[in-house]
C-alpha cells in the first residue's frame, strides 16, 4: 500500500522524507513571497537580477533570464539524471522474471515502472531549458552524455535487487533530497516528486535484505555477498572527492548543489552503519569506525580510479547497457512511426468531419 508514501503522517517532520516535506513547504513559501517588485526592464542588469533571485532563495523559472553556463550545467546534470533512471531499469529488470515470489515480482515491477516515470519527469524538466527529449536521447545513444556509473555493475543474485534498493536508491535519496531545494524550479519540483517515490524503493530493498539476512544461512550469505559488492560502487555514486570535482564550486554558488560530494558521502556512511547493524550484515570496510572527535564515521574511500574507468565506458556492463538501449531504440522505430502515422490519419479524419 504505497499510497501511504504521500501522506504527511508517514514522516512526522523527521528523516529524509521529512526533509522533502520541508523543502516542499519552503518552495511554496518562496512562491508566496513572490519576486522582488522591480522585475527587470528591457535594459536592466539581468545578471544582477538573476543573482538577487538566487540570493533570496527563490526559484529560477524557465522564462527567466539565466547565464548560459547555468543553463548548460543544468541540462548536463538533469539529462544525466534522466538517463540514469532509464538505464537503471536494466539491472533490476534483469530479475523481474526470476523474482522469488509473486509479491516480490509485483513490487519489483512497480519499482521499475517508477524509474521510467522518474526518467520522464526529469526529461520534462530538462526540456524547459530549451532542449528536446529526442535530442537528449540522441546524445545518450551516441555516448555523448553519461548516466550514473552504478548501473554498469551486474546484478548476479536476487539479493542484488535488495542491495540496489537499500544502497543505490539510498545514496540517490541522500543526493536528491538537497536537490529538492535546487535554485531551478522545474528541477526542484521534479526532485520532490521523485524523492517521495524513491523512499518506497529504499524501504523495499531494505526489507528484501532484512528477510534474507534473517533466513537460511545460504540466504544470509547471499545478502552479505551483495552488500560486499555494492558498498563501494554506491559510495562512488557521490562523485569524485571535493578536490577533484570540476563542477562543484560553481554549482554550489548557483545553489544547484547544496552540499559537496564528500559531505553527502559522509552523511550516507553515517546513515548506513546503523541500518547495517539492524540487518545484521557487515559493511566491507575494516577501517570503518566511529570518530568521536568528528562525530562521524571514518571510512575507506572508494577506488576513484575504478570510478573514472567506469565513467569512461570500461566498467563491467557499460557495453551491454548501451547495446540494449540502442537495440530497443532501433527496433522500436517502426512502432513510433506507426503511432505517428495513425495520429496523423485520425487528425485528418477529424478535420474532414469538421469541414
Amino acid at each position: 500500500m504505497y499510497g501511504n508514501d504521500f501522506s504527511a503522517e508517514d514522516a512526522p517532520g523527521g528523516g529524509l522524507l521529512g526533509e522533502v516535506e520541508a523543502a516542499e513547504a519552503a518552495l511554496r513559501e518562496a512562491a508566496e513571497r513572490g519576486r522582488r517588485a522591480d522585475a527587470p526592464g528591457p535594459d536592466a542588469d539581468l545578471a544582477g537580477y538573476f543573482a538577487e533571485v538566487i540570493d533570496a532563495d527563490q526559484k529560477i523559472e524557465p522564462r527567466d533570464w539565466m547565464p548560459e553556463a547555468y543553463r548548460k550545467t543544468l541540462i548536463r546534470q538533469i539529462a544525466q539524471h534522466a538517463h540514469s533512471e532509464i538505464i537503471g531499469m536494466q539491472p533490476e529488470g534483469n530479475w523481474i522474471s526470476r523474482a522469488p515470489s509473486l509479491k516480490r515480482k509485483a513490487i519489483l515491477l512497480a519499482k521499475v515502472q517508477d524509474e521510467a516515470g522518474h526518467g520522464l519527469y526529469l526529461y520534462a524538466a530538462a526540456e524547459t531549458l530549451g532542449i528536446s527529449r529526442d535530442e537528449l536521447v540522441r546524445l545518450l545513444l551516441e555516448g555523448r552524455q553519461k548516466y550514473s556509473s552504478i548501473f554498469n555493475y551486474p546484478t548476479l543474485t536476487w539479493a542484488d535487487v535488495g542491495a540496489i534498493g537499500w544502497l543505490v536508491d539510498g545514496a540517490a535519496i541522500v543526493n536528491q533530497v538537497p536537490l529538492c531545494r535546487c535554485s531551478y524550479g522545474p528541477y526542484a519540483r521534479a526532485m520532490i516528486r521523485v524523492c517521495k517515490e524513491e523512499s518506497f524503493h529504499q524501504r523495499q530493498g531494505y526489507e528484501i535484505l532484512h528477510t534474507l539476512a534473517h533466513g537460511t544461512p545460504e540466504q544470509k550469505a547471499m545478502a552479505q555477498d551483495s552488500v560486499d559488492r555494492w558498498w563501494y560502487p554506491s559510495l562512488a555514486m557521490f562523485g569524485p572527492p571535493d578536490g577533484d570535482s570540476t563542477h562543484s564550486a560553481q554549482s554550489m554558488a548557483w545553489k544547484i548543489k547544496r552540499f559537496s560530494n564528500d559531505e553527502l558521502r559522509q552523511r550516507f556512511v553515517d546513515m548506513c552503519v546503523q541500518q547495517a547493524e539492524i540487518l545484521d550484515l557487515t559493511l566491507p570496510d575494516p577501517d570503518l569506525r566511529w570518530n568521536d572527535e568528528r562525530q562521524a564515521y571514518d571510512y575507506t574511500q572508494p577506488d576513484y580510479d575504478e570510478l573514472m574507468q567506469v565513467i569512461k565506458g570500461n566498467g563491467p556492463c557499460n557495453r551491454q547497457r548501451m547495446e540494449h538501449r540502442r537495440r530497443a531504440h532501433t527496433e522500436g522505430a517502426w512502432v513510433r512511426e506507426a503511432a505517428a502515422a495513425y495520429a496523423a490519419k485520425r487528425a485528418e479524419q477529424k478535420e474532414k468531419v469538421a469541414a
Binding site: 504505497y2 522585475a39 528536446s132 522545474p186 521534479a190 513510433r336 495520429a343
Partner: protein, 106 residues
Amino acid sequence: MSERSERTDRLSVTEHSPLWEVFVRARRGLSHTHVGSLHAPDAELALRNARDLYTRRQEGVSIWVVPAAAITASSPDEKDAFFDPAADKVYRHPTFYDVPDGVSHL
C-alpha cells in the same frame, strides 16, 4: 515539471511525439492542477500515459491533456504591467470596507 510550452520558440517541431501538458484534479470539487508533461503521438495515448505516469498512487480522479503548442503564456518581462491593477485598486478587496461594530453575518 514541465513548463516547456513556455519555451517552444527554441525548439524544432519535427518530433514524432508532440508534447502534452497534464492537469489532474485530485478530488471531486477541487480544481485541475498542472502536474507535468509528457510526449505522446495523440491525445488518447497522452491520456493513457498520463494515467500511468501521474496517477499511480491515487493522485487524481480526472485528467486533462492539452497539446503544449495550444498554450499561450504571459511573458515575465511584462509581468508588472500585466498584473499590476490588483495592487492599486484596493477597493476590490472585501477588507477595504469598514464594517460598523455590532453587525453580524456580514
